[in-house]
Symmetry: C2
Subunit: 210 residues, 2 copies
């Protein structure tokens, strides 16, 4: 009769654990060995939860750590992002940051100006991606611009499919990612909000929200 | 009769947009004005998707950008994280990084050694949090340790409730966060995998996975 973990002593539990983990490792090693393709990825961070831009900035810093050149285009300027910008200052040899947006649309209330700003930001992002000078290009909050149809998503998809160099990673953030973009992406993560402190009256704090 | 957006000309659409955004902004401003509490948050990043540690590292860099002191304890050393470590080197005046884990459990296959390593890492994290010297303390992959019951979650909860200084933020990462931890957390985000390039044979790449 097989013992259940509850009937085992510590040594038996350890032996059982070692055997289980040995199998895990073998399966993991086999899986990873089958992954051989290296290519520039299209990455999308979407969803209503926090962490979309933050995780993309985490990737930016990781890339910078490796000494890669990185480009960042911010499509929405109103966003409070002082911490990231100040941290990027220590990598001014490697990073190009373009803050292009004119702020949250509900702060400007001027649709034509927002469309013009979005267009300008997208042209800057295209130049960065196309140049091949950057290993990673972050298009922060581009999904917002696409959601409002300030730039047609078809145009963005067409560009990424035909003009993005093979070795350039592009990460696009913002809630409500369009279906067509998700379809052509290699890696899509949805950030889901389980709990948020604003609900309990906690205000946005330095180092956390900005 | 009210016009639908399809019947409007550009000027009408812009005016409608401006009015809608004005209301948005008023509601947003009112909501944010009601948020007045400032406090050290307990933040949990969980879920099966990518971005849990990456977003936490994004917060670390944001905090460092503000000149805050930050502590990082890595409970799982096997994880490939070179990029982050290299990037943190540029902030050696502000950051303390402790790599404590003995690797993924399926790589060591030695449960007693893993338990001892987890215990040592947790003691280091407690010292950092308790000291009040750090504005933010990141406990990377602590959820993994808790999931295997290498440290009882009750012990972690009790410590965070009674000994964490009010102005210290703690961010805990790893899939399968325990329910009790989620209950006492202020901010919980679940990263959900929608699409992953490993499925298509793409290997882990510098700057993306490590």
């Amino acid at each position: 009769m097989t013992k259940t973990p509850g009937d085992m002593n510590d040594a038996e539990r350890d032996a059982r654990h070692a055997e289980k983990m040995r199998k895990h490792k073998a399966a993991h090693d086999k899986k990873m060995a089958s992954k051989t393709i290296e290519k520039g990825l299209l990455i999308v961070h979407t969803g209503k939860g926090k962490g979309k831009s933050t995780a993309a900035f985490g990737m930016v810093f990781r890339s910078l750590g490796h000494g890669h050149r990185v480009g960042v285009v911010q499509f929405v300027k109103g966003k409070i992002d002082t911490g990231e910008r100040l941290a990027l200052d220590r990598f001014s040899d490697l990073v190009t940051l373009k803050r292009m947006g004119e702020g949250f649309t509900w702060e400007t209330q001027d649709r034509q100006r927002d469309i013009a700003a979005a267009r300008k930001a997208w042209e800057a992002a295209k130049d960065m991606i196309r140049s091949g000078d950057y290993r990673l290009v972050m298009c922060d909050e581009l999904n917002i611009v696409l959601r409002y149809d300030y730039i047609p998503v078809e145009e963005v998809i067409e560009f990424l499919k035909t003009e993005k160099p093979d070795d350039v990673h592009v990460v696009i953030t913002g809630r409500n990612a369009k279906e067509g973009l998700i379809e052509i992406a290699d890696l899509v993560t949805e950030m889901t909000q389980i709990k948020h402190p604003f609900r309990d009256g906690v205000k946005a704090q330095q180092g956390i929200e900005f």
